[in-house]
């Protein structure tokens, strides 16, 4: 009897008849084969997008931020919209790996590796925007507090923009460390079964000389747990601080105390949607349907409908407060220029995509439908992009002085920059999907005997057993009465 016995009513996390070796085989063998035609097509499309992005950014750096269609009224446009959007997407990975680890959600094991990778790539994309928005990007290091020859003139520690520098860089570093420390044992698995010299060499370097020693595993577990504990408030802090960029200002439409929780919910919402988009493709292409099951997708869809509704409540609260506060400027921003006005269409796209359509996930049939999930995941991310656009642009384009009212549409370098970050993101993700174990092999093996379908089926007899008998069996595990098919009790 396994101590971590799990009811058969709970859906298995690993489908099919698997043993430890089969798990390795299923997850590692795509790395060892040649990539398919689709991979090459996808990779080169991403690479060309990336190159186009590099051109757009070079153009902007050479001629200055004037090539963007930002103006005196609308100082933040696509760049900051994209920044917040990418950072938001970058929230799901660490949420899955950290918060769900602390909450003991077993289903995270199937999706955490890919979600964390996605987080890291998304934060990389996000970081580009504020850096290149600086214009004179070669002076970007001025945001770091270091003793300098200009006084020393220090940065302003009171500014949320500086908090952002610390938050995003810390988040990136910690996510990367968390991700890589989990990858080390899996790289060792690839290394030890490698047939070619090059693979042995490269995965040998990447695996840092991991052997699987019991002491090392003990420390590894401690490390993962503490990193999860640290990352949990970190995830919440990052988007809170991003929301401070707006909330601490005095612009009507930004100056609200609801922003931190509202932004965090939105970030989780869009992050999970992006995870769905990527994993639906990955599980299909790499034949990992046994590990990323419909049950995993359903769990994430539940998070999507929850956070989507939180975001919906926040929209309504904002509207209520704009009326209730009786500040004419705030009222005008929300009712005249956001829900109506020349940019009003963006508000209604946001409302439809974020609040109305995700409600289909109240139905189990929809949550468990792959096609619906895929389409919804893209709709949600379109909606969340528009949310940031709405917050930024519709609060700015009608300011206090009607003579400076303006309209905003992006120029080609702005669009190119955004497409370039898609290129960067997908180039990285394609490389990851080909050369990295996309599912945490060791973690799957760890839950296999409790949550694997074939092992759960053997638990049926314990379901029928009276409770006191079951408890007595559990106490006498040291006696040699081992059932050869079921793992033993481990006193931990």
């Amino acid at each position: 009897m396994h101590l971590k016995y799990e009811s058969t009513l709970r859906e298995p996390l690993v489908d099919g008849v698997k043993n430890y070796h089969q798990v390795t085989e299923d997850i590692i063998s795509p790395i060892e084969g040649k990539p398919g035609k689709l991979w090459y097509i996808g990779f080169f499309i991403s690479l060309s997008l990336l190159l186009f992005g590099v051109c757009s950014v070079t153009w902007e750096v050479y001629f200055g931020t004037g090539v963007w269609n930002l103006n005196k009224t609308i100082g933040w446009g696509w760049d900051i919209t994209n920044f917040v959007w990418w950072v938001g997407i970058g929230h799901a990975g660490t949420l899955i790996s950290a918060i769900l680890l602390l909450f003991r959600q077993g289903w995270r094991t199937g999706v955490n590796r890919a979600a964390e990778a996605m987080t890291i790539f998304a934060v990389m994309c996000a970081g580009q925007f504020p850096i290149f928005h600086m214009g004179r990007v070669w002076m970007a290091f001025f945001v770091l507090p270091y003793p300098n020859t200009r006084g020393p003139l220090w940065v302003n520690f009171n500014s949320p923009l500086l908090w952002d520098v610390f938050a995003i860089s810390t988040y990136f570093t910690v996510s990367l460390l968390f991700w890589y420390s989990g990858l080390i044992p899996d790289f060792a698995t690839v290394r030890d079964r490698a047939k070619t010299k090059l693979r042995k060499l490269l995965y040998g370097i990447a695996s840092f000389g991991w052997t699987g020693s019991t002491k090392h595993w003990q420390r590894h577990e401690a490390l993962s747990l503490v990193l999860a504990g640290l990352s949990t408030p970190l995830v919440l802090s990052v988007h809170t601080i991003v929301s401070f960029d707006f909330a601490t200002s005095v612009i009507p439409g930004w100056h609200t105390t609801i922003f931190p929780p509202y932004f965090v919910a939105g970030a989780i919402f869009s992050g999970f949607a992006m995870v769905q988009t990527l994993l639906i493709i990955v599980r299909k292409v790499l034949h990992l349907e046994d590990y990323i099951t419909i049950g995993h997708m359903e769990a994430m869809n539940k998070v999507i409908v929850l956070t989507g509704s939180v975001v919906g409540c926040a929209y309504l609260t904002e509207l209520f407060m704009a009326w209730y506060a009786a500040v004419p400027y705030e009222f005008a921003t929300f009712y005249k220029y956001r829900a109506a006005g020349p940019l009003g269409w963006s508000y209604w796209i946001m409302m439809t995509c974020n609040v109305i359509t995700p409600q289909v996930f109240w139905f189990a049939k929809m949550r468990r439908n792959v096609l619906v999930t895929f389409v919804m995941s893209i709709i949600v991310n379109i909606g969340m992009w528009f949310e940031r656009f709405v917050i930024i642009c519709t609060s700015l384009y009608r300011d206090y002085l009607p003579s400076s009212w303006a309209y905003y549409r992006p120029s080609w370098p702005e669009v190119g920059f955004y497409m370039g970050t898609f290129g960067l993101f997908f180039t990285c993700f394609f490389l990851f999907a080909k050369y990295f174990p996309v599912i945490a092999v060791a973690e799957i093996k760890h839950v296999l005997k409790t949550s694997g379908e074939s092992f759960k089926n053997q638990m049926e007899k314990y379901e029928q057993q009276p409770a006191d008998e079951f408890a007595r069996d559990l106490h006498h595990d040291d006696e040699p009465h081992h059932d050869p098919h079921v793992a033993p009790v481990h006193h931990s």
Binding site: P152, R193, G209, L227
Partner: protein, 198 residues
């Protein structure tokens, strides 16, 4: 470390491994290590390993981050270059909280990962002896050190009796060295040459 002799046995199930670890320890053999493809909970206790103190290290790194952030920011804003920013106080504690928090997390995470790598001797180009290539796949591999008092043949029989398979004897470096996994490194014994007695 040093080149040593080991008797190596593989187990293919935790159900066999746990009682085996217990029996090997009771029989008085010195378990060098048990290599597992995933963290087996409770194995560290079964082997008599002590708890790790990595958490404590993480805490210490964390408060180092807290103090670094708070002391740097307050020194800069009150002593080094007191600047009037919109008439706000020179020591705005609430405004210092976000950066203090971030640095606490950063110091703790980076410090812990580096400590982890240091303690487990993990780094690029670090190489260690792999007793069985499937120890990172599906086997639980137990390595027992052969000391001057150990009868290797007896030990092998004993291991076979408690469920071990693929039992063999290996002469290997017990520690780590710089090397590449695509090359077989020739180990050398750092035994001193026999003294020539005149």
């Amino acid at each position: 470390m040093a080149v040593k002799n080991f008797v190596v046995a593989s187990f293919d199930d935790e159900a066999v491994l746990f009682p085996a670890v217990k029996k090997v320890r009771t029989a008085g053999y010195k378990i060098h290590d048990v290599y597992t493809p995933f963290p087996v909970h409770g194995l560290d206790h079964a082997m008599g390993l002590r708890e790790t103190s990595l958490h404590t290290a993480g805490f210490v790194y964390g408060i180092t981050g807290t103090t670094t952030a708070l002391s740097c920011m307050s020194w800069i804003f009150t002593t080094d270059w007191p600047m009037n920013i919109g008439g706000k106080p020179h020591f705005p504690l609430p405004a210092f909280i976000p950066i203090t928090f971030e640095l606490t997390v950063l110091f703790s995470a980076v410090g812990m990962v580096l400590t982890f790598c240091y303690l487990c001797q993990l780094a690029p180009f670090v190489k260690k002896h792999i007793f069985h290539p499937r120890q990172t796949d599906d086997l639980f591999v137990m390595a027992i050190e052969v000391t001057a008092k150990t009868n290797a043949e007896e030990l092998k029989k004993f291991l076979a009796g408690i469920g071990g398979t693929q039992i063999n004897e290996q002469r290997a470096e017990a520690g780590w060295w710089y090397g590449r996994y695509d090359r077989e490194d020739r180990l050398f014994d750092n035994k001193r040459p026999e003294p020539v007695n005149a």
